[in-house]
């Protein structure tokens, strides 16, 4: 690809992002509000553990090409909703569509194949495998992953070479290229976060779901992680992430969804959210001292 082409593509991405932002500018900051071009749209999603209702979301849409933050106090049901949407948990009821197709019946691995890839709150590096193998295992449609084809070297060798080049490019971008032959278990916590994100990109996802990407990451690395997340948007991916850190949300999120007690209580741009009394109530309790209202 020539430089001018790359530039043109980047311009397209920036434009797409700008367009998404403009589209969101007209969206009212109310829970469950409709978006112009949702990549993900969930309706009536409910998950109960016995008598405890962990998630009960009436409606939620995520705009394509944006970075959306999912926030809320501990126990609000953010991770449970994440698990439901990515197929890692089954809802008691509810439906949702991902990229125009019903995703309710898809299992976790099918969601990943459909283009929605998640990371985990506690990073899941495959510790006793090399960093490169961690990347290669994520490559989609490798024929050699079928039992019969695995036996015949020639059937998957070519694909493997291509995947390896792609993996090394991604590792380069995430500053892990020199670690590619180390075991993933030998990486630091922050490097594992980077590896997990790089690994997710091997699948060329349409949407990336990050479960607390900043948890336990030192400030220096935080900045670089933020840049990487912004790059995802520039490349046309949609990002939904769970986070607590309001500074980070202000810096990168285009849209914020606030959950409390299993429900979406409000949505809006970061500025709208930080001045919303319902959010303060949700975090500090409805009857906290010095309530503004």
């Amino acid at each position: 690809m020539s430089d001018s082409e790359t530039e043109r593509e980047e311009a397209v991405f920036r434009e797409a992002h700008q367009a998404a932002l403009e589209a969101l500018a007209d969206v009212a900051p109310e829970p469950g509000v409709a978006k112009p071009d949702p990549i993900l749209s969930a309706t009536g999603v409910r998950r109960a553990f016995g008598g405890l209702v962990a998630v009960d979301v009436e409606h939620l849409e995520v705009q394509r090409g944006t970075i959306t933050a999912l926030i809320g106090p501990n126990g609000a049901g953010k991770t449970t909703l994440f698990n439901l949407l990515t197929g890692f948990d089954r809802p008691s009821r509810g439906t949702w569509e991902f990229d125009g197709r019903s995703a309710k019946r898809l299992r976790s691995y099918q969601m990943a194949q459909a283009g929605m890839v998640r990371t985990f709150q506690l990073t899941k590096a495959l510790t006793r495998m090399t960093v490169l193998d961690n990347m290669l295992i994520a490559a989609p449609d490798q024929l050699g992953e079928r039992l019969w084809a695995g036996l015949i070297h020639g059937m998957w060798r070519g694909q493997e070479v291509g995947n390896r080049a792609k993996a090394l490019r991604l590792l380069e971008r995430f500053n892990l290229a020199d670690k590619c032959h180390d075991y993933a278990g030998e990486l630091s916590g922050g490097q594992r976060k980077l590896l997990e994100m790089a690994r997710a990109l091997m699948l060329e996802p349409k949407m990336v779901m990050l479960d607390e990407p900043m948890a336990g990451v030192n400030p220096a690395l935080k900045q670089s992680l933020l840049e990487h997340i912004k790059e995802l948007r520039e490349e046309g991916m949609t990002v939904l992430f769970v986070e607590h850190d309001m500074d980070m949300i202000h810096e990168i999120a285009d849209w914020v969804v606030v959950m409390a007690a299993g429900q979406v209580i409000t949505e809006g741009t970061p500025d709208q959210i930080s001045s919303d009394p319902r959010v303060i109530d949700a975090y500090l309790g409805a009857h906290h001292d010095g309530a503004a209202h």
Binding site: T86, F88, R107, S108, Y109, Q110, A112, Q113, V117, R118, T119, F120, L122, K124, A125, L126, T127, R128, M129, D133, L136, I137, A138, P140, Q142, L143, G144, E145, R146, L147, A149, G150, L151, H153, W156, E160, Y183, G185, E186, R199, A200, M202, L203
Partner: protein
């Protein structure tokens, strides 16, 4: 003390028919436990599927030998599916519980009196191995000698001076087939574990949720590993049944499975040659210790009051158990394992 006899016995057994059974069963376990992380505590039952599948088909149903082999393999696949479908979606320890229970059910069904006219109950079945030995190229009346190798009425002696190896014609045929099977299994597994398929298995061993999040159907891979390991286990059952020319239910107890684990861990799990080396070493040490103690008692080096020859068996297992504990403390990765790999924190 006849050291020549002690070492000859130990080395003869280190590559002999019994060792082959353990090596093959442990290769199957290596696919399941070593590479995929599946805790199958019922490998003895997979061996029983092979052994009883063969024996029942040939003796009770009167069908040809190869049908017996086919039935044994199919029974192992059926058992893998039966155990895997309900448990492989659950956490790893459920498979362990279910397989250990299933193995006991299989053993108790085999020894129950309900079907004893077919299964022979606790006496087991014999009389199915003749078609196998009829295929043997080794005759029991061969007599020849060449350099240090000699054959006397079908008994092979390889005399290396310091030690000698001796095998009957039946042992030789079992060993030929057994070692050929091991060679085939290791070649096929070698190709598989170094393929992208094998990489997915290792990923599942490390963290199946992560592998699932990367778009792999973890359940299908675990099932494939369980079936392949079970098929290899059934093959070990064939070798076991044929080498003893009978099947007995109580030989397929949970101890049998645990010895497969000992062999696998001793040699090094997730190492291609681990099970073979582990089995050879285990049977070498077992025979070395028992023969040494027996010889010492016979030579009255150990006072008669301290240890009788009946107590040698349990003492040897005690010593091997102690050895296993020391191995796990000082070399937890086994003989062939990679310590650097094992020392990584596994979450």
């Amino acid at each position: 003390m006849d050291w020549h006899f002690v070492f000859s016995q130990a080395l003869t057994q280190a590559i002999g028919p019994t060792m082959l059974i353990y090596a093959i069963a442990a290769i199957g376990l290596n696919v399941q436990f070593g590479y995929t992380g599946l805790l199958n505590f019922g490998q003895a039952a997979f061996a029983a599927m092979g052994a009883y599948g063969l024996a029942l088909t040939v003796v009770a149903a009167g069908l040809p030998f190869w049908w017996g082999i086919a039935v044994g393999l199919l029974a192992a696949v059926a058992m893998a599916l039966l155990l895997g479908i309900p448990t492989l979606r659950l956490r790893a320890d459920y498979l362990a519980i279910v397989t250990i229970a299933a193995a006991e059910i299989v053993r108790r069904l085999a020894r129950s009196t309900v079907w004893s006219e077919h299964t022979g109950g606790s006496d087991g079945i014999r009389g199915f191995s003749e078609p196998f030995f009829a295929m043997s190229p080794y005759s029991d009346d061969a007599n020849w000698s060449f350099a240090f190798v000699s054959m006397e009425n079908g008994r092979l002696t390889v005399d290396l001076g310091i030690v000698d190896f001796q095998y009957s014609d039946r042992d030789l045929w079992i060993m030929t087939v057994g070692w050929a099977l091991i060679a085939v299994f290791l070649v096929v597994l070698g190709l598989l574990v170094h393929s992208p398929w094998g990489r997915v298995l290792k990923g599942i061993r490390e963290d199946e949720e992560a592998v699932r999040s990367l778009g792999k159907n973890v359940f299908a891979y675990k099932m494939q590993a369980l079936v392949i390991g079970g098929l290899i286990g059934a093959t070990a059952g064939f070798v076991f049944a044929l080498s003893r020319a009978n099947v007995q239910p109580d030989t397929f107890s949970t101890d049998f499975t645990f010895y497969f684990y000992v062999v696998l861990i001793l040699g090094g799990a997730a190492r291609l040659f681990g099970p073979v080396l582990g089995a050879a070493l285990f049977w070498f040490l077992y025979n070395l210790l028992s023969q040494t103690l027996n010889q010492a008692i016979r030579a009255e080096l150990i006072p008669a009051g301290a240890l009788s020859s009946i107590q040698v068996g349990p003492l040897v297992f005690f010593l091997l158990g102690l050895g296993m504990v020391l191995l796990l403390i000082y070399r937890p990765q086994g003989i062939l394992g990679n310590r650097r790999e094992l020392m990584l924190d596994v979450r």
